[in-house]
């Protein structure tokens, strides 16, 4: 450690500055949320009152809202855990055809913003003129469409599918690392396949399934796009939309009451995140010594092989193909109608023109692109410092920093948006694009820190040390060794963040003001006005932007990967 002596002197203030910055971005809004909930109003911070709590918790509609929240959250979490478990099992453990493909498919829906997913399914399944409903009505001569997307069932269906990438990514490593000799040992001991599943396989995977389920609950508890676009028209409110109505409906938005309610959602999320962390570490205790050399064959599906394959393909169509095709189709139509010769003859570019000539939407486009690029850059720079300190500096300060940067992972965007509202109101950032920028970075910091942290951990200390031994200075070693090795990780973290910011909704919906409009909020407004064609056109532009980001970054990555070798 003597070589590093000079650096530790540099490092100490760095840790301090980072703790203050990250603390301000994560604890700050929470603290202000608490203060705000006890304040008389957004203009009168600090004038103590408990009126807001009384008003928030005596609201006669609250019990119904809570009931809906529980059903929606548990339902969608269950659905997405089952979907994720199914996809993970089939792709990792079985001989399903194209299993390599199935390892990519479940994560593809990440590319589709939730608002657009909702919009597509609404145009397909709304009870009055949903295209699929119209089609089925004509087909079977029904008096009304068989499906109503504006229902709890519809919300659970959509949200469950949207959380599939997350549940899949959490559960598939557990399937990968599952030691199949544990099952074989049970068979050899005299147990049947089913008995083995019940006594060995499922108990060992239980922590992983529970962790996945917990994470899915955290996600659905914070969900806003589906509840607002699908739930609100059907008058089905859950906590996030209930809070949204408090700050968006009526003459004077009541941020105090919103804060008072938001705190219970926040508290629940924090508890769940710690439960999740506990479950993940419990799951890793089940990792045993694994045999070398022999790789057991996969589970043979036999006759179920192709039916299951088709089931997966159908699910994938539900997730990606159908929504995308619907959006493209809708963007050229004046109003929604079932595909027919007449429909195709009526296609035109009016929706696209309307969107691109709308000065508010053009401004929203510019704002979103700015927030995405500037936010991702700022976020990644901050994450780099945090990740470096967390991995390379072992001290109480760095442990605190790690907890801080992980904490906001649990924060529901909508609630933390209200927190940032209180946090920013007395600052010059209030109602500016810079305010949004700060809120974005604060809310999504864990998504930058986590991948970079693992990138740093993969760089063995000795690589840096050997450069020093062979005569490189600290900075030279940083430039020659650390940066080239880290670059691919940084680029992918940057893309991830930039894509998240392009489609950011739940924080923006609270903080966006005239002048600081962003894409998703404008899409939501268009949807509220029933302009589905314009929603589709703007949505495709949005998907095009994210795709362009990924493409540009992957072009950038080619020279970077050369320097790696």
């Amino acid at each position: 450690m003597t070589v590093l002596g000079r650096q530790s002197r540099l490092r100490l203030p760095l840790v301090g500055i980072l703790i203050i910055a990250v603390g301000a971005l994560t604890i700050g809004p929470v603290l202000m949320l608490v203060i705000g909930s006890f304040s008389k109003g957004i203009g009168a911070i600090g004038t103590f009152t408990i009126d807001k709590y009384v008003a928030a918790y005596t609201d006669p509609t609250l019990p119904k809202t809570l009931g809906n929240t529980v059903i929606f959250t548990l339902g969608a979490a269950c659905f997405s855990t089952i979907l994720g478990g199914l996809f993970a099992y089939l792709s990792v453990r079985t001989d399903i055809p194209f299993s390599g493909l199935f390892r990519i498919l479940p994560v593809v829906p990440m590319m589709i913003p939730h608002v657009l997913f909702a919009a597509a399914w609404i145009t397909l399944l709304n009870p009055t003129n949903g295209m699929l409903n119209l089609f089925l009505r004509n087909l079977f001569g029904l008096s009304s469409g068989p499906f109503n997307i504006y229902s709890l069932g519809g919300m659970i269906f959509l949200e469950g599918m949207l959380d599939l990438p997350v549940t899949y990514l959490v559960i598939s490593p557990a399937m990968y690392s599952f030691d199949t000799t544990l099952e074989e040992a049970s068979r050899v001991s005299g147990a049947s396949n089913l008995y083995t599943l019940r006594r060995v396989t499922l108990p060992i995977l239980k922590p992983a399934f529970l962790a996945t389920f917990t994470l899915a609950i955290i996600r659905t508890l914070a969900a806003f796009a589906i509840p607002s676009m699908v739930g609100m028209p059907g008058r089905i409110h859950i906590l996030t939309t209930h809070i949204y109505r408090i700050i968006s409906v009526g003459w004077s938005p009541d941020y105090g009451r919103a804060a008072a309610l938001g705190l219970i959602v926040l508290a629940a999320s924090i508890v769940l995140v710690y439960l999740y962390r506990h479950l993940i570490s419990e799951g890793s205790q089940f990792v045993t010594v694994t045999g070398k050399g022999y790789r057991p064959t996969v589970v043979e599906l036999g006759r179920a092989r192709y039916p299951l394959f088709i089931l997966c393909i159908v699910l994938f169509c539900f997730l990606v193909v159908i929504p995308l095709a619907t959006l493209i189709y809708m963007s050229f139509l004046p109003y929604s109608m079932v595909p027919s010769a007449r429909a195709f003859s009526m296609m035109n570019m009016r929706n696209w023109h309307a969107v691109l000539r709308n000065s508010v939407i053009v401004r929203a486009l510019k704002n979103s692109v700015f927030l995405s690029i500037a936010g991702a850059t700022l976020g990644i720079v901050l994450s780099l410092f945090v990740a470096y300190v967390v991995v390379k500096v072992k001290s109480k300060g760095s442990a605190l920093l790690e907890s801080l940067s992980f904490l906001s992972f649990s924060f529901p965007g909508m609630i933390i948006g209200v927190g940032f509202m209180w946090f920013l109101v007395k600052t010059p950032l209030y109602a500016t694009i810079w305010g949004l920028l700060v809120a974005y970075v604060g809310t999504y910091l864990p998504y930058g820190v986590r991948p970079l942290r693992s990138a740093f951990m993969q760089i063995d200390e000795e690589l840096e040390e050997s450069a020093r031994v062979f005569g490189a200075t600290f900075l030279r070693a940083l430039k020659d060794i650390i940066v080239p090795l880290l670059a691919p990780g940084v680029v992918s973290a940057w893309i991830l963040m930039a894509c998240m910011f392009i489609r950011e909704l739940s924080v923006s919906v609270v903080l966006s003001r005239p002048g600081t409009e962003v894409l998703t909020v404008e899409i939501m407004k268009l949807a509220n006005d029933g302009l589905w064609g314009q929603v589709a056109a703007l949505g495709i532009i949005m998907i095009g932007l994210s795709t362009a980001l990924v493409l540009i970054a992957s072009l950038l990555r080619i020279p970077l990967s050369h320097s790696e070798q």
């Binding site: 040992a185 001991s189 060992i204 045993t288 045999g291 064959t297």
Partner: protein
């Protein structure tokens, strides 16, 4: 011979991306009851595949397997018993200890499946844990044990239901060298004491030699030789086996005549020597003879020359603790000899060596190493 486990004409292939690999090529094997048979061979020789076919974890293509006289798999008869109905116990390379169960839970599992009464389960688990020296560990989570202890839990679990045969799949390969040696000894003691039929897979020759009653050497999906450890190590005529097990000096030789039915006089780099050889080789036949490095002895300086004595020059010397490993140049050939450590030797010394005719053997001609 009807053995405990008998395998007839077993064929197993694996289909990989664009080729079919034959893992077992018409294997026939019979294991003696109450003895330990080891399947030994380099990696990829098919030993683990054979074991897994016997266990029922792998399905062969053709042939027949029976355990304790009962056919458990037969292509012809259309019989295919699942692993749970073959009455076997198995110790896996990774031990496969269930991490969510205690030591007791792991060991009691085979008995619970057999619906053994609770009281009896407790008694039998206690006994078997005593045997493997894990008494008092019943309520520990199995994964909280050390590697060696986990290994013994796996053994207890395999023993508890008194299976007809226990299968071992490289059970010691996850232990460190020191522990491996002591566990090897323990395992050998357990198995001989209980007089259990066992099939043991390993790629470690020393492990195979010390633990087994019988060894079957496998190569490329075929059993090339079977016999007692002594047969295999000292009396094999198979060039692959000789080369695979331990070290050997190979020398080109020509048959000059026969001393008796089993011993021929050959001329080679060591001079004319007597070695054990197949009886039907004609005079002038070219053969390869081999000697083990440890079969050489230094002849007393002033004694009458013995049979098979020759003189050479020490060209390099390695002190390996328990012995000198000397490279000796004789008649243009270099041979490796392990000589007793107390004999003073240095590079360049002339040395007279002697090798017993039994430890100097001609390989069967026509087989390649």
């Amino acid at each position: 011979m009807q053995g405990m486990v008998s395998v007839k004409n077993l064929v197993k292939t694996f289909a990989s991306k664009d080729e079919t690999v034959t893992a077992l090529n018409n294997v026939t094997l019979s294991t003696p009851a109450n003895k330990i048979l080891t399947l030994l061979g380099p990696s990829g020789c098919g030993k683990t595949t054979l074991l897994r076919c016997i266990a029922g974890l792998e399905s062969p293509v053709s042939g027949e397997i029976s355990i304790g006289g009962e056919v458990v798999w037969s292509k012809e008869k259309g019989i295919s018993l699942p692993p749970e109905r073959r009455g076997i116990g198995m110790v896996f390379q990774s031990y496969a200890i269930w991490p969510h169960m205690t030591v007791f839970g792991n060991v009691a599992y085979p008995l619970e499946i057999r619906k053994t009464p609770k009281q009896e389960i407790r008694e039998r688990v206690r006994k078997v844990l005593e045997l493997v020296k894990l008494s008092g560990f019943e309520n520990r989570l199995a994964t909280k044990l050390s590697g060696g202890q986990q290994q013994r839990v796996a053994l207890a679990r395999a023993l508890v239901a008194e299976p007809k045969v226990i299968l071992f799949d490289e059970p010691l390969s996850n232990l460190d060298a020191k522990l491996r040696e002591s566990t090897r000894q323990e395992l050998r003691d357990f198995l001989t004491e209980l007089a259990i039929s066992a099939i043991y897979v390993t790629h470690d020759q020393v492990e195979a030699l010390t633990i087994s009653d019988h060894i079957a050497i496998m190569r490329g999906g075929v059993i090339v030789e079977q016999g007692t450890p002594q047969d295999i190590y000292l009396r094999s005529n198979n060039p692959f086996v000789v080369d695979f097990i331990g070290r050997a000096n190979f020398l080109d030789a020509t048959i000059k005549g026969y001393k008796d039915q089993h011993h021929a006089i050959v001329s080679c780099a060591l001079g004319d020597i007597v070695c054990s050889a197949p009886s039907d080789l004609g005079i002038g036949t070219k053969v390869t003879i081999y000697t083990r490095p440890e079969s050489f002895e230094v002849a007393p300086p002033s004694s009458v020359p013995l049979e098979n004595e020759f003189e050479g020059t020490v060209t390099s010397l390695l002190f390996a603790g328990e012995a000198h490993e000397a490279e000796i140049l004789v008649g243009g050939a270099r041979i490796l000899a392990k000589l007793k450590f107390h004999i003073p030797l240095k590079k360049g010394d002339k040395v007279r060596l002697h090798v017993d005719r039994e430890w100097c053997r001609a390989l069967s001609p026509g087989e390649e190493a």
